[in-house]
Symmetry: C2
Subunit: 290 residues, 2 copies
């Protein structure tokens, strides 16, 4: 049970965490801060937070649990701002989709207090953003990755496991490096592809006519292309090496299929599609056991 949760960045991720923690009865009071005061006010109006803070530092004052839910590129500045009030007992987490850069930022900005920080990445989200889309069930049944470093304190790490487990998440621990390699493949690459795909279609003279004919396959395939530009700019820049390696592998596979089509090699084409179809048919999303 925590006394006070500080949400820094009252958006979809932070708002959903606050709602879930309250419903679970794990926190008495939620203080929120967003860069835009109107966002903080809206979070207050919606009952996502109880108190509006005028700064990240003010939000952290007196809090025993802090969730940093700002765009990845703003993480280091946030760590610097709150550093003076970070205590050895405080649990600080983030929700960023990349972890090496966040860990590096935490080392630089939190310095000797870095042990209070437990890097976290919930595998949950929506293609819409903003506190108005907060969802108390967002983390329920989803995986939650923690990427502790050697300096992470055991007590805070255990608290992080306990909190997310209580919210219904399935907690997985791995190194920041393993995390970033895996998510370049299964998250950052599909986003990159879907952005390029939408631009390719919409940029054609008849693009709008084509789009008016698109059906359910298109809808699901392109859903993530509607994601927030600033958030994804930061993720892609932060994890650029892993992502560029993945997009090269993808293009080689794409060109292999193209070659079979262009050369009329129907049998080999079927083999490549079949391989993909089997791989996808066997895949099941890991979900928390109820």
């Amino acid at each position: 049970m925590f006394e006070q949760l500080a949400i820094i960045g009252c958006g979809l991720m932070g708002g959903s965490f606050a709602l879930a923690l309250k419903r679970a009865g794990l926190v008495k009071r939620v203080v929120g801060y967003s860069k835009s005061p109107t966002t903080t006010a809206r979070a207050h109006q919606m009952g996502v937070i109880d108190v509006e803070a005028a700064s990240a530092l003010e939000a952290v004052a007196g809090s025993d649990i802090v969730l940093i839910a700002v765009p990845v590129a703003a993480t280091e500045a946030t760590f610097k701002t709150i550093q003076p009030l970070v205590t050895p007992e405080m649990l600080i987490m983030d929700v960023g989709s990349t972890k090496r850069d966040v860990v590096d930022a935490a080392r630089r900005a939190l310095r000797e207090k870095v042990g209070s920080f437990v890097p976290a990445h919930p595998i949950a989200g929506k293609e819409v953003s903003g506190v108005e889309h907060s969802d108390v069930d967002l983390y329920q049944g989803r995986q939650l990755i923690l990427t502790p470093i050697e300096r992470t304190q055991a007590r805070q790490l255990q608290q992080a496991v306990d909190v997310w487990t209580a919210l219904g998440s399935r907690v997985v621990k791995m190194s920041p490096e393993s995390h970033d390699a895996a998510f370049a493949a299964v998250s950052h690459l599909p986003h990159l592809i879907s952005f390029a795909f939408m631009n390719a279609i919409a940029g054609q003279p008849q693009g709008q006519d084509y789009l008016s004919l698109a059906g359910p396959g298109f809808r699901d395939f392109s859903r993530i292309a509607a994601s927030d530009a600033k958030v994804w700019r930061d993720i892609m820049m932060s994890n650029r090496e892993e992502l560029l390696a993945q997009t090269k592998i993808f293009q080689l596979n794409l060109q292999a299929i193209e070659l079979m089509i262009a050369s009329g090699n129907s049998e080999a084409l079927e083999g490549l599609i079949d391989q993909a179809s089997l791989a996808r048919s066997h895949w099941r999303m890991v979900q928390q056991q109820k």
Copy 2:
């Protein structure tokens, strides 16, 4: 009201059409034929068809409406088989995802009887196939493209419009050429990409570990990669020129984003993502008004 519907190819598309036509009270009797007798028998057991035919020709005998729902590559052979029993009053339709090749096949195989054929493409489907997945609501609220040619008889064209409208589909007419260009972009390209993507991930040494971490974004993006290999082999081969043109445009757009990432041009990257995100956010799937 039709006397007898012949379903040639008792799979997801044919089975769903039979169920929907029966529920709408538009047909008295359904005769079915599949290449595999066990499939025909299963369709019978499930009540999707009333009578099992031993051949496509036998199914067509005495039918006033015929739906050919076989893989695209088998369409011409089916036309040839049934040609002797095609009458000027009969309405024949297909459900193929490509239309130029089907129209060419119909001209060659049906010859002077080609006017009874109305090429059709329902924008509906599932990533699973087989008659056991038949769904009476599959076509409800979906678009249905008809691509008549100059020799298509007006009476049959009107019947086709009426039948699909009665099933809840929104009927759109266009040329086979426009159809194939549009669906190369919004359907065949996303399938090609999703197959290449799955192969790229699953083919890596740590692919299975990566896949175990994938979440809802991956799930939706890759759903169509589970599609049937034979069906998609045929579609891609049939529409290869349009598809290869689309995949080139896609790769140029992908490489533009890659270049912004590699060169660290964060502002231009955000611009490209924002463009994609806006295009996708504004898109709405056309659905039949109730």
